[in-house]
Amino acid sequence: MTDFLLGHYVYWSIIALLIIGLYGMMLKNNLAKKLIGMIIFQVSIIMFYVASAVKWSATVPVLDPAIGVADAAKYISPLQHCLMLTAIVVGVATSGVAFSLAILIYRHYKTLEESDLMEHMKSS
């Protein structure tokens, strides 16, 4: 049991991050805090992929003459890192769009509190 808990400590912390992110998005009233929750959520998934690529007794996926190409298991799979580079770019674009929307909202309503916004939207 202890082995199971300790052996997967990375995954426990990723799950904790996921939950913090979801909590921020669902329960926080302020749009900026929701955004922070969203970014934490995305980062936790990026860390999940990176953690899945970890391999002991293997090296970076660059051809090393000392190891050669015969035993591919001696290299770490580079694919997860490449995928996550794309996912980071996507995440940056998403937060860019989200921040510009938040700025637009603030210009119109002078507030980022969701409860106030709902009242404004009902009244107009």
């Binding site: 899945s52 769009v97 929307l101 309503y109």
Partner: protein
């Protein structure tokens, strides 16, 4: 040419979307014609593709010459070429219509609007043709980000609605990404066909079940399946009419397509219907969603909001067809993707025309003068509304017919009752409008403008339809609903029956 054709439509749209702001830097007027050319080009490409696929069988394209499972593969089979054609055709008509309306609705924003619309279509086309799970995620995000922009470009409530959609949509996409992470860890591949071949060998691995559930939740949010629909009504209501006419017919259908593709063509029918009760959950949630959407649509006083709730109900039909997991239900679902795209496109364009004409689209304020002011638009509305209700020979009847047959085949009478009851509810909320427009006598003649409608000539009757680019696309879409209805047997035989997944 032939071996490159799967990649042509997304690349054409992407290239135009990126170069449009540069081309239109001096003259913003060129944005519209350039967009129309690109959109028409994608219609040509996708009709060429579907002919090719129906004659020669599935086509694949390997990016950079790398063969799968290492490289990214684009696949055109009858299903993907069919959905691509539907999306491109409906987008072409909506963009055609937008020419006469965007200047008034979103003044000074035509270049960003068209660039986003093209990016949106590029994402949609990419999602449809890709055969790679991660590539699908990237296109899904291009598609969604452009969609958030299209919605947020509207009046002042629009950014709030768009922001909520963005938060929900990002959660959906992230769940999907987490799901394919699980799949990648257990299979070591991201190519759909390859994963399909590997999955039977790792039978009983709980990670596969987790992956399926996460992907289902993620796509369920994007598709607005019943308890995950929270973002949809506000987003469609507050978006500019021309954006909601573009996002509503395409946005949720694409997610439904992805769900079909992943459930039946990656995980396999047996796994999703017997080992995990995913299809049953989809069917029951959709059945609740159909009733909920229809009842909520009846309660709305604003036309676009009513159409938004009716979208939730219609998505329920597609979900129900997926959830039945038998050939008839599947035919119904794929046919309803086509029908709903045309019906919702037409109805949102009608709402746009009504708004442009009268300045609002509040159902209580609609009156009989509309049938004089906008005779063709209201005729188109009538056809689309009848199709939503499901009266033969309109298209909507046939997809409901297949769904009903599927429910009987499954022996589930609750689903059959849901389909029938919701058709009646549809009739209630559409006849509310039809009654106001056609059955109530015209109001007392007030001003000189509205006089003289009888003759059908002169200023009085032309005042509404003076702009042909607003009227013709609506009429074409609506009347093609009759053609689709009459030709549905051909569509089912030629296309849909050839792509019934294995083991169904």
């Amino acid at each position: 040419m032939i071996q490159n054709s799967p990649a042509l439509a997304p690349l054409l749209l992407l290239a135009t979307a990126i170069s449009l702001p540069v081309l239109a830097i001096k003259k913003t007027k060129v944005a519209y014609p350039v967009t129309m050319v690109a959109s028409f080009g994608s219609v040509i490409i996708s009709s060429y593709n579907i002919c090719l696929v129906l004659r020669n069988g599935p086509l694949t394209y390997h990016f950079g010459g790398w063969f799968p499972p290492i490289g990214i593969e684009y696949v055109l089979d009858p299903l993907s070429s069919f959905v691509a054609l539907v999306v491109n055709v409906i987008a072409f008509f909506v963009l055609w219509h937008s020419g006469g309306i965007q200047e008034r609705e979103i003044p000074g924003k035509s270049v960003p609007y068209y660039a986003l619309a093209l990016l949106f279509l590029c994402g949609a086309n990419g999602i449809i043709v890709t055969g790679d799970l991660f590539n699908l995620y990237v296109f899904m995000e291009i598609f969604s980000l452009a969609g958030y922009g299209l919605i947020g470009i509207g009046e002042k409530q629009a950014p709030v609605a768009s922001f909520r959609y963005l938060i929900m949509g990002t959660v959906g996409a992230s769940f999907y990404l987490l799901g394919i992470g699980f799949l990648y860890i257990v299979t070591g591949s991201l190519n759909m066909a390859d994963v399909r071949n590997i999955l039977p060998h790792i039978h009983g691995n709980p990670a596969v079940a987790a992956a399926l559930s996460l992907i289902f939740i993620g796509m369920g949010i994007k598709m607005a399946i019943f308890p995950l629909h929270g973002w949809l009504p506000d987003a469609y209501t507050y978006a500019p009419s021309t954006s909601s006419a573009l996002v509503a017919p395409i946005g949720t259908k694409i997610a439904a397509y992805v769900l079909i593709r992943i459930l039946f063509f990656v995980f396999g029918v047996e796994f999703v219907s017997q080992e995990l009760p995913i299809t049953d959950s989809i069917a029951w949630l959709s059945a609740i969603g159909i009733l909920y959407g229809s009842v909520m649509a009846m309660a709305q006083s604003e036309m676009k909001r009513m159409l938004a709730y009716s979208s939730i109900a219609q998505i329920g039909y597609i979900g129900l067809g997926i959830g039945l997991a038998n050939p008839l239900g599947y035919i119904g679902a794929v046919l309803h993707i086509l029908n709903h795209a045309f019906m919702k496109g037409s109805l949102f364009l009608v709402a746009a025309n009504v708004r442009r004409k009268t300045g609002q689209s509040n159902i209580a304020k609609l009156d009989a003068s509309l049938r004089k002011k906008l005779p063709w638009t209201m005729a188109a509305f009538t056809v689309a509304a009848l199709s939503m209700i499901g009266l033969p020979p309109t298209a909507g009847f046939f997809s409901k017919w297949y769904l009903a047959l599927g429910a009987i085949d499954r022996g589930n009478w609750v689903f059959l009752a849901v389909i029938l009851v919701s058709s009646l509810l549809n009739a209630v909320y559409f006849f509310r409008i039809l009654e106001k427009v056609y059955l109530i006598p015209p109001p007392a003649q007030k001003t000189g403008e509205d006089l003289n409608p009888e003759t059908g000539k002169g200023r009085g009757s032309l005042v509404g339809e003076e702009n042909f680019s607003l009227m013709i696309p609506v009429v074409i879409i609506s009347f093609s609903l009759l053609l689709i209805g009459l030709g549905n047997a051909t569509i089912v035989e030629m296309i849909i029956q050839r792509i019934i997944p294995l083991g169904m």
